[in-house]
Amino acid sequence: MDNQFTVQQDGNMLTIVLDEQLTTNNAPALMEELNQYKGKAIEKVIFDATKLTYIASSGIRTIIFAKQKLGGNPEIEFVNCGADIRSVFEMTGLQSYITFVSK
């Protein structure tokens, strides 16, 4: 499947490896998966966007969800975020709350 994701917890860090797209089709499943990590003292959420070429507003909702609902106001990091996606973050004012890392 093209548009899947994996979620892995390592101590207080959660790593989400995204595939090519985070859309209305798969974002609700990611939000449901993230819901299972509520209250588990997650301090940092890393989105690996190396393969990601497209994020819809439903995908952005999952990032806001991670920040607000996991508890503990975790740091949000995006690894290898493409220019188009970064520009959507800028339009929605999210870029100030995301650490962008290139690896």
Binding site: Y54, S57, S58, I60, I64, F65, Q68, M91, G93, Y97
Partner: protein
């Protein structure tokens, strides 16, 4: 003008979006394609999810026009009258911790398109988006 008609539409969001993106008029939009994809997804999801009562067999007509410098897409549905442009826009200057989780779709549509307009015509919602194409 190209005209795509979908009926019924329930459960066909992805198929409808793919059909729009695969038209020659849209596929040739180059750098504007990301914005067009995102906006089409928002608008199609809105119609499929909210325009019709669950038991109704709704339809969606998508009309696509392309010139060298402009893409125009018109979405027509026969669902309940709804002008998405009247929705309150989210305050994107709020800290992330205080933001409502939803409401970004129409905001992004207005940000990413050069013109967005709504009309109610003969019991149809008609939403038209225009994007200038610079290659």
């Amino acid at each position: 003008m190209r005209r795509l008609r979908f009926q019924p539409i329930a459960g066909r969001t992805e198929e409808i979006i793919d059909a729009i993106l695969q038209t020659e008029e849209v596929a040739s939009c180059g750098k504007a394609l990301y914005a067009v994809h995102l906006v089409c997804e928002e608008l199609v999801v809105n119609v499929v999810s909210y325009a019709y009562p669950p038991e109704a067999e709704g339809y969606l007509v998508v009309e696509i026009e392309r010139t060298d410098t402009c893409l125009t897409i018109r979405f027509r549905d026969g669902g309940v009258a709804f002008n998405p442009l009247e929705k309150e826009m989210p305050d994107v200057s709020l800290p992330l911790e205080e933001r409502p989780i939803g409401g970004l779709g129409i905001f992004l549509t207005l940000q990413m398109m050069d013109d967005v307009s709504y009309e109610r015509v003969q019991d149809e919602n008609v939403l038209t988006i225009k994007k200038e194409i610079h290659e």
